[in-house]
C-alpha cells in the first residue's frame, strides 16, 4: 500500500511539474495546483497511513490517526487555494494589460542589443 501511495504522489508531482514548465499561464496555474495536491499528500503521509483510525478522542479508543500533519495540511489546502487564485488572477491581469498569456518576459526572447 505504501508503494502505491508513493507512486501516486510521484505521478501527480511529475504531471504538475511538467505543466509548471509550460510557456503559458493557464497550464502553469493548473500545474501548480496539481503539484500542491502532491505536496499535500506527501505531507499528510508523514504521519503514517492510518486505516480506520479515530478522528476524535473517545473513551477507551487507542487507535488514532496522527492529527498534526492533518492540521498542517488543512491550512495548506486553504492557503493553496489562495495561491492558485492569486496566480490565476495575476495571469488574467497580465493578459489584460499586455495582451499575452505567455509566462516569459517577452524581452527575454531575443538577445538584448548591446548599448554602450
Amino acid at each position: 500500500m505504501e508503494a502505491l501511495y508513493a507512486t501516486v504522489t510521484g505521478f501527480l508531482a511529475a504531471s504538475g511539474l511538467y505543466l509548471a514548465l509550460r510557456g503559458r499561464t493557464f497550464p502553469v496555474v493548473v500545474g501548480l495546483t496539481l503539484l500542491s495536491y502532491a505536496v499535500n499528500l506527501f505531507l499528510f503521509s508523514t504521519g503514517g497511513l492510518t486505516t480506520n483510525g479515530a478522528a476524535v478522542i473517545r473513551e477507551g479508543v487507542t487507535h488514532y490517526a496522527d492529527p498534526l500533519p492533518q492540521a498542517l495540511v488543512l491550512t495548506a489546502i486553504v492557503i493553496g487555494f489562495a495561491m492558485t487564485a492569486f496566480s490565476v488572477i495575476l495571469a488574467m491581469r497580465v493578459r489584460g494589460d499586455q495582451g499575452s498569456d505567455q509566462v516569459n518576459d517577452q524581452r527575454g526572447e531575443e538577445p538584448k542589443e548591446e548599448k554602450s
Binding site: 510521484g10 499528500l41 486505516t51 478522542i57 487555494f81
Partner: protein
C-alpha cells in the same frame, strides 16, 4: 557618568541646526556650537584625572548576543583626539558661518558636520571593538554626505562616491579583522583585547587579522596605494576639508594604529608593513604635492604625505617613535587646519585656487599671508615652530631604527628626502601665492576676509607658535597620557624642547631646509620632467573600473535572470533534484524496516484513477477545459484518499476547496484562451518530460522511504492534552485554533492579504470577452437556468444551517471554521451562478472586504484578550454551559477564534469569486442591448 554625554550631545546637536531657517545664519552657527562646546567642557573637566593616569569607563549592554556593548572610555589617547575633534570642530563651525554662501543650505551643512563629529568622537571613545567599527562606518557615511555637500557638481558626487567606496570597503575588511581578533581573545571588550597581546600574536589567525585591520586603517588614512580617494575628496567645501583632512577622518586610520598598538604592534610583520607603507606614502605624496597647481590639491597630497610620516612612526619598534607620532598628530592637525582655512579664504576672496593665477596676495590680505606663512613654515619644519619639534623627533627615531638590517641607513635618508620635498612644496605654496607681483586677472578683486573667518586661523597658528616655543608646558600632560594609553607604559624619558644641541638630526633638518629651497629653485625642471609621463587621473581609473564591474555584473545577471519563468523553474528543479537526489544516494536501501500494509482492490482502483487523471491533466493540457476537468477528478480522489486514511476534516476541506477552485478556474478560463497553442519544440518536451519524470521519481522514492521507516511522532502530546488542555475532542481542530493558533492566525492573515491583492488586481481590469467557446458555438442564451435558480435558492438556508452545524460541532467532531466557511462560501457562490451577479448583489448588499478583515481582527483580538487575564498571547479558556433545549455544550474562547477563521474564509473566498464573477457581467447587458437594437 557623563561619558555617553560627550557622544550624545553632538548627536543631538545634529538636529539643532535643522530647527532654524537658512536665513538666521548667526543663530544657526551659535546654536550648533552650543552642544559640542558643552561636550568639550565635560572633556576638559575630565582632563586632569586622565592626565593623572586615570581611565574612565562607562558601559551599557546593547546587543549582548553579539558582544556589542555601548561601552565608552576616556583615556589619554581619547583625550588627545577629543580635544582636537571638538576644539577644531568648534573653530570650523565659526569659519563655515562666513565661508558658506547664502545659496548653500546652512542647516544641512551643520547637521552633516555634527553627525560626522559624533561618529569621530564615537571612534575615539569606543571601548568595544564592534562599537568602534559602527562609528567607523558612520564616519564613512557622514563624510560621504559632507564631501558630496555640493551635490549638484558632478565632481563632488564622484569624489564622495569614491571616498565612500574606498573607506567603506576598508571598514568592512576591518570588521573582518575585528571579528578574528574577537574570536582569538573571546571578547570584543577593548581593554581585554589590549591586554592579550601574547595570545593574539601567537595565534595563526594573527596574520589575516592584522592585514585586514591594517587595510581598514590604510584606506581611511589614505596610505599608498589607497591614497587616491583623498585628493578627489577636495571637491568638498573647504571647511569640510579643513576638518576631515586635518584633525578627523584621515586621522581615524592612524588613531586605530595607536589604539591597537598594544595588542597588534611589536611583531616583525607590523614593523615591516606599517613602517614601509608609511615611508613610501610620505615620499610619493610629497613629490606629487610639489607638482599640483590647485592649492587644495597641494594640501591634499601633503596631508597624505604627513599621514605617511605618522604611520611610519607608529610602525617603528621604539616607544619614542610612538610618542613622536602622537605629537605630530597634534601638530599636523593645527597647521593643516590653518592652511586649509587659508586656502578657503583665498578661494572665497579671489575666486580661484589655481597657484598659476595667484600671486602677490600679501598686499591685499596681509594677515592671512602672515598666518599662512607661519603655518606653512611649521609644516616645513622650520625651527621655533611645533612642526620642527616633531620632525626632529621623527628624524632621531629613523636613525635609531634597525629595520632593513644592513640597509638601515636607507630609512633616515629617505625620511630626509621626504622632509626636503615637504620644505619645497611649503615654500612654493607661500612664495607663489603671497609674494611676487600682484595678480591682475583674478575673478574677484582680493581683499581681506571678515575677521571672524580669520580668527580660527589666528588661534591655530598661535598654538603652533606657542607649542613650538614652550612644548613642555603646553602639550606634555596630554601627550604623556596619550603615550601611556598607546604603549601601556609610562612615557619614556623625553625632554620636549626646541634645542637638543648640535647633533645628527639637527644636521638632517638643516639639509632638509637647504635641500627644499634648492628643489624649489629648480622646480621648473621637475615639472618638465614630470610632463613626459602620461597624465593619470585616479578618478577616471576608478570610475572606469567601477563601470567595468557593473558591466560584468549586468552580464552575469542577464545570463541568470533573463525574464524567462521557464528557465527559473528549470534551475530551481535542477537544484531540488540535486540536493534531494544526493540525500537519497546516501540511503543504504530505499525500503525501511516497517511492515507494509496490505493492498485491496478499492485502493488499486482509486490509485489508478488518480494517476490517469493526473497524467491526463498534463497530456491534454492544450485543451484547457478537458485538462481542468481532469484536475477536478484528481482533487476529488485526493479528498477520498484523505477520507480513506482517517482524516475526515481534510476530506471535507479538500472537497469544499475543490469546488471553489474549479469554479475559480472555470471563470478564469472564460477570459483566457481556451486552447494552448503548440509551441514547445520536441527537444523541449523531451527535456521537460525527463525532468518531470526525475522529479516524480525522487518524490515517490522519498515518500516511500519515509512511509516504510519507523515513525516517531510528537503527536502523542496533542492527543493527550487536547481534551484536558484545549477542551475539545477533535484534535485537528484543537491544534488549529489552540495549540498552533498563532500559525493559523498567520495563515488567515495571508488568505486575507491574497484576497485583497486579487481585489486590487481585478480593479479596472478590462478583458476581451469571447462570444463563443473554442469550437465556435455561441454561449447559451439561457443565462440563469430556472431549475438551478430554484434549487440553489432552496438549498441556501439548508447549506447555511449545515455550515453553522459544522462550525459549532467543530471542536468536538470533524468540522470547524475552515470547513464551515468554505461551505457557506460555496452556497453563496451557487446563488451567484444561478441568479447572476446583479441579482445576488441586490439581495446580498454587503461588502466582503470588511468581513474578511473583521475575521482577522476577531482572531487577533481573541489572542490579545488573553493578555487581559495575564496569560500569553492566544491562551484559551473553556467551560461547560447548559443551554435550554440543546443541552450542555462546551464553550471555549477557541470558538471565538474559530469564528474569526470562519469569517475570514467566507470573506476572502467571496471577495475573490464574486469580484471575478462581476467581470463577466460588466459588459454583458450592454452587449445584449446592442443585439436587441440591431
Amino acid at each position: 557618568m557623563s561619558l555617553p554625554l560627550i557622544v550624545l550631545l553632538p548627536l543631538l546637536g545634529s538636529l539643532i541646526p535643522l530647527l532654524s531657517s537658512n536665513r538666521q545664519r548667526n543663530l544657526n552657527a551659535w546654536s550648533t556650537a552650543l552642544l559640542p562646546a558643552i561636550a568639550l567642557g565635560i572633556v576638559i573637566a575630565h582632563a586632569p584625572g586622565v592626565i593623572a593616569g586615570e581611565v574612565y569607563h562607562s558601559s551599557m549592554s546593547w546587543v549582548p548576543q553579539l558582544g556589542l556593548d555601548l561601552a565608552f572610555r576616556l583615556d589619554g589617547l581619547s583625550l588627545l583626539f577629543l580635544l582636537l575633534i571638538l576644539g577644531i570642530g568648534l573653530l570650523i563651525i565659526l569659519y563655515s558661518r562666513y565661508y558658506l554662501s547664502p545659496e548653500d543650505s546652512m542647516p544641512r551643512f551643520y547637521a552633516y558636520l555634527m553627525l560626522f563629529m559624533t561618529s569621530m568622537i564615537g571612534i575615539v571613545m569606543a571601548d568595544n571593538l564592534l562599537l568602534l567599527w559602527v562609528f567607523w562606518e558612520l564616519t564613512s557615511l557622514s563624510s560621504f554626505l559632507l564631501i558630496g555637500y555640493w551635490y549638484r557638481q558632478s565632481e563632488a558626487r564622484r569624489g564622495a562616491r569614491m571616498a565612500l567606496a574606498v573607506t567603506g570597503m576598508g571598514g568592512l575588511a576591518m570588521l573582518a579583522g575585528f571579528l578574528l581578533i574577537g574570536h582569538i581573545v573571546g571578547t570584543f571588550d577593548l581593554q581585554t583585547v589590549l591586554d592579550s597581546r601574547e595570545l593574539i600574536q601567537a595565534d595563526p589567525r594573527y596574520l589575516p587579522a592584522l592585514l585586514l585591520v591594517l587595510l581598514g586603517a590604510f584606506t581611511k588614512s589614505a596610505q599608498f596605494p589607497f591614497h587616491f580617494w583623498l585628493p578627489h575628496a577636495m571637491a568638498a567645501p573647504t571647511p569640510v576639508s579643513a576638518f576631515l583632512h586635518s584633525a578627523t577622518m584621515v586621522k581615524a586610520g592612524v588613531f586605530l594604529l595607536a589604539r591597537l598598538h598594544p595588542a597588534l604592534a611589536g611583531s616583525q610583520l607590523w614593523l615591516y608593513i606599517v613602517t614601509l607603507t608609511g615611508l613610501v606614502t610620505m615620499i610619493y605624496a610629497a613629490y606629487f604635492a610639489l607638482l599640483k597647481y590647485d592649492l587644495k590639491g597641494v594640501l591634499a597630497f601633503s596631508t597624505v604625505s604627513h599621514l605617511g610620516l605618522i604611520t611610519m612612526l607608529f610602525g617603528l619598534d621604539s616607544k619614542l617613535a610612538v610618542v613622536a607620532g602622537l605629537f605630530h598628530i597634534i601638530n599636523h592637525a593645527m597647521f593643516k587646519a590653518a592652511l586649509f582655512m587659508s586656502s578657503g579664504i583665498i578661494d572665497h576672496e579671489t575666486g580661484t585656487r589655481d597657484i598659476r593665477k595667484l600671486s602677490g596676495l600679501r598686499h591685499s590680505m596681509p594677515m592671512t599671508a602672515a598666518l599662512s606663512g607661519l603655518a606653512a613654515a611649521s609644516m616645513a619644519g622650520v625651527p621655533l615652530l611645533n612642526g620642527f619639534i616633531s620632525k626632529e623627533m621623527m628624524l632621531t627615531e629613523t636613525l635609531e631604527s634597525s629595520l632593513l638590517g644592513g640597509l638601515a641607513w636607507l630609512i633616515p635618508v629617505l625620511a630626509t628626502l621626504g622632509s626636503i620635498l615637504s620644505v619645497a612644496y611649503s615654500l612654493r605654496l607661500i612664495r607663489n601665492v603671497f609674494f611676487g607681483p600682484e595678480a591682475k586677472e583674478l575673478p574677484k578683486a582680493p581683499h581681506e576676509a571678515p575677521f571672524p573667518m580669520r580668527l580660527p586661523m589666528l588661534l591655530l597658528v598661535g598654538l603652533c607658535v606657542v607649542i613650538g616655543l614652550i612644548p613642555a608646558v603646553i602639550v606634555s600632560g596630554v601627550l604623556d597620557a596619550a603615550a601611556q594609553a598607546t604603549i601601556l607604559a609610562p612615557r619614556p624619558e623625553l625632554h620636549l624642547s626646541i634645542w637638543h644641541g648640535f647633533n645628527l638630526p639637527l644636521l638632517m633638518s638643516a639639509i632638509a631646509l637647504a635641500g627644499g629651497v634648492g628643489i624649489y629653485a629648480v622646480r621648473r625642471n621637475l615639472f618638465s620632467f614630470q610632463r613626459q609621463f602620461p597624465q593619470r587621473n585616479a578618478l577616471m581609473i576608478f570610475e572606469h573600473s567601477v563601470r567595468r564591474l557593473l558591466h560584468w555584473t549586468q552580464v552575469a545577471i542577464d545570463r541568470l535572470e533573463n525574464g524567462s519563468l521557464q528557465r527559473y523553474m528549470l534551475w530551481l528543479i535542477v537544484a531540488v533534484l540535486f540536493l534531494t537526489g544526493s540525500g537519497l544516494l546516501d540511503l543504504d536501501q530505499l525500503q525501511g524496516s516497517r511492515q507494509p500494509q496490505p493492498l485491496d482492490g478499492l485502493l488499486l482502483a482509486g490509485a489508478g484513477i488518480t494517476i490517469l487523471a493526473g497524467l491526463g491533466t498534463a497530456v491534454l493540457h492544450r485543451r484547457r477545459l478537458v485538462s481542468l476537468m481532469m484536475l477536478s477528478v484528481v482533487g476529488l480522489m485526493v479528498s477520498l484518499a484523505f477520507a480513506r486514511f482517517s482524516a475526515p476534516d481534510l476530506a471535507l476541506t479538500q472537497l469544499a476547496v475543490e469546488v471553489v477552485t474549479v469554479i475559480l478556474l472555470m471563470l478564469a478560463l472564460f477570459f483566457l484562451p481556451q486552447r494552448t497553442p503548440k509551441e514547445s519544440t520536441g527537444a523541449r518536451v523531451v527535456r521537460d518530460v525527463l525532468l518531470a519524470a526525475g522529479f516524480g521519481g525522487v518524490v515517490a522514492s522519498l515518500n516511500y522511504a519515509l512511509l516504510t521507516r519507523p515513525l516517531d511522532s510528537i503527536s502523542g502530546f496533542f492527543l493527550d492534552n487536547s481534551v484536558s488542555g484545549g477542551g475539545g475532542h477533535n484534535v485537528v481542530n484543537v491544534i488549529l485554533v489552540d495549540f498552533r493558533g498563532f500559525d493559523t492566525l498567520g495563515e488567515i492573515t495571508v488568505l486575507c492579504i491574497a484576497a485583497i491583492g486579487i481585489y486590487k488586481l481585478l480593479n479596472r481590469l478590462r478583458l476581451f470577452m469571447p462570444s463563443s467557446d473554442s469550437e465556435g458555438r455561441p454561449w447559451s442564451k439561457d443565462l440563469h437556468p430556472m431549475l438551478l435558480a430554484t434549487v440553489s435558492q432552496t438549498l441556501l438556508p439548508l447549506a447555511l444551517l449545515v455550515s453553522v452545524f459544522i462550525f459549532l460541532r467543530g471542536h468536538n467532531e470533524p468540522g470547524g471554521g475552515f470547513i464551515a466557511g468554505l461551505v457557506t462560501a460555496v452556497a453563496l457562490i451557487l446563488l451567484y451562478i444561478a441568479r447572476g451577479v446583479d441579482w445576488a448583489q441586490q439581495r446580498l448588499s454587503f461588502q466582503y472586504q470588511p468581513i474578511a478583515v473583521t475575521g482577522v481582527a476577531i482572531a487577533t483580538l481573541t489572542g490579545l484578550g488573553s493578555w487581559l487575564f495575564g496569560h500569553n498571547f492566544l491562551t484559551s479558556a473553556f467551560g461547560h454551559f447548559s443551554i435550554p433545549f440543546i443541552g450542555e455544550i462546551e464553550l471555549a474562547t477557541a470558538m471565538l477564534f474559530d469564528l474569526g477563521v470562519y469569517l475570514t474564509v467566507v470573506g476572502a473566498t467571496l471577495m475573490i469569486l464574486a469580484n471575478l464573477g462581476k467581470l463577466t457581467t460588466r459588459h454583458r447587458p450592454s452587449k445584449e442591448n446592442e443585439k436587441e437594437t440591431v
